[in-house]
Amino acid sequence: MAVFSKAPLAGLLAVLTGATVLAACGTDSTSSGGGGGGTTIQIWEGYTQVEAKAFAHLVSQYEATHPGQKVNTLYVNSDNTLQKVLTAVRGGSPPDIAYLYGSWAPNVAEIPSVVNLTQVVKRPEVNWNDFWTGERAVATVDGKVIGIPALVDNLAVVYNKTLFAKAGLPVPGPDWTWQDFVADAKKLTNPAIKQYGTAYVTPGTEDTVWHWEPLLWEAGGQLLTPDNKKAAFDSPAGLASLNTLRQMAVTDKSMYLDPSDSAYGNLFNSGKIGMLVTGPWDLATFDNVKYGVQVMPAYPGTSGAHQTISGPDNWVVFNNGSAKTAAAEQFLIWLTNATQDTYFAVKTGDLPIRQSVGSDASVVQQMNTAVPGMATFIANLGNVKQARPQIPQYPKISTVLGTMIVSVLLGKSQPQAALSAAAQQVNQILAAG
């Protein structure tokens, strides 16, 4: 039976063409909004719950105080924003502003329609140097500013006060060392009741890697040479940092290894883990235990002192014509100024993105009362002295480093062998460009 014949196919084609034309019309009519008296900008953000509420409040406040300006917000899960932005850029209709993870910055810089904000942040009302060093570093790629800081955090040690008391240990002080950390972890470990001194995430992703990078920096090491051309972590500092991890994971067995990146928080909240290197976002979920927060330990005798790593995120502006770009810049400058930053930090518990707000005693006190330990995380922002290399190859390098760290943690390779192998691979990646 001849199901297919030519005439109906032609009809089908006609219908198809019609549909395409209709779709094209649809795009045209929607994208020609704005203009005239006011400007409407579209912003993609990933806020939920308290953050969403606070952000919506700020947006409506902005619209009320800036007649003619309209801000349309669209919720996009932040994990997927870059994928969606890429699609939208290809389709010719990117949002005017998108919330993008800082780790994407070097790749985001390659998108042609990303607006260069280098001149914008020089305006006095931006007060660019009031943003933390780590934030400015992540918003800048090859000297070009591609975003305005949207969020900042950092890693510190959250410890269980009850478990420290039970083990007869003094709680960590601000001058503690990694030697202290390792010794405490060992004493806090009790296999009989399945209690661990500390934990580490081992999927081998960037989450694995960024927990290790501050150790390298504190030991006085660097990830890459200053020109970002060669690996520099195959060094005594790199060895010291991996030896610290190996001591706990392999020798003392004081470290719970979490392959799924999802269990450690619950375990800490159940009193099964003594110390956790984590960020401020976890604090609110630790409601079952009495916890304290201390800065990351140091390696004595090195230049590194106490450091930490920050994973700042950016507001990135996309070019949809000069009117929209100007409106988007104006909104971001307003959104990230000290008044709005104070409101957002106090309402949501997100760390202040400005140093002036972070050093405001009343803000710190309010945040620390709402969620104990916040004061330490805010002060710890001063310990963010370095950022990950801002190069497009970083995601590939991160994969290599993840494998290196996990192979040491699982006892599959010795620290020096793992360092050498990883350095060789990283050099290849960098040479390939």
């Binding site: 199901v3 219908v15 198809l16 998108i111 081992t202 081998g204 392959p259 999802s262």
Partner: protein
Amino acid sequence: MAVAVRRPAARRPSSRRPSARRVIGSEQFSGWAFVTPGVVIILLFGAVPIVWSAVMSFQRNNLLSPSTPFVGTANYRKMIHDPVVAQAIQHTLVYTVLFVPGTMLVGLFLAVAMNRKIRFISFYRTAAYATMAVSTISEAIVFIWLFDPSYGVVNYFLSAFGIPPQQFLNSPSEALYVIVIMTIWGWTGFSVVIYLAALQGVPQQLIEAASIDGAGPWQAFRRVTLPLLSPASLFLAVWLTINALQLFDEVYLSTQGGPLNATTVLVYYLYIQAFQQFNFGYASAIAYFLFLVIIVVTVIQFRVGRRFTYYRS
């Protein structure tokens, strides 16, 4: 049958060109008219990306920058020298070889057990199918905790038999098998339903005839029931294999390809290449390689399966 059939209209010379009204009124036209919306959607969201990714597989393309140089077969040649691709192929094959027969056997066993009149049978049937209704994320979280090296129930049971605790998802040599078990559990409901439906179609008189001829229950199952289930088995084998070769969700949710790439399968690796490392050209090449593998495997399955499949007409 010698009934006089009216000659088809098209044979008559006067109406060689069908009039417009006749075309619109024809069954073919209305058929196409009905399926057009579906066809448009499939072309738009299926065919276009398929063609586009074929083009991308010959480019160096990160989707970010507008420059997308044509690199010929470089992406395909790169696969040959990429050790992770070799690992991913190996993991995908091991997974498929264990998952497909595993799911079919467990499903067949449960379906046979439930193909009888016992109390609460509909409850059991619903329970078996519930594994399909549970979302993959819940499934993954439950299995992560079941197989947790320190706190998991599985190690607790093993210790009751004197077996030392296993590292499971933390062990490069065990993680893939945990994912096999997890996905067999998740897909069992599907194979139970297919087999149950097929079992309903096995005529009781054939089994009675076999037992009158002296066949025991096992022989009757082996010689009568199983051959009659063969179309269902072939369907399941093909369907589950295609799904197995495309394993992603469970890996993404439980191990993220780790530890040390032990659970990196092809689709997960192409996801990493595309969306973490922005090598869309290379990822497209891997996708096309997988596409070829699936076609070849499916054709072989149909060829071989035809020999063992019995269709009652």
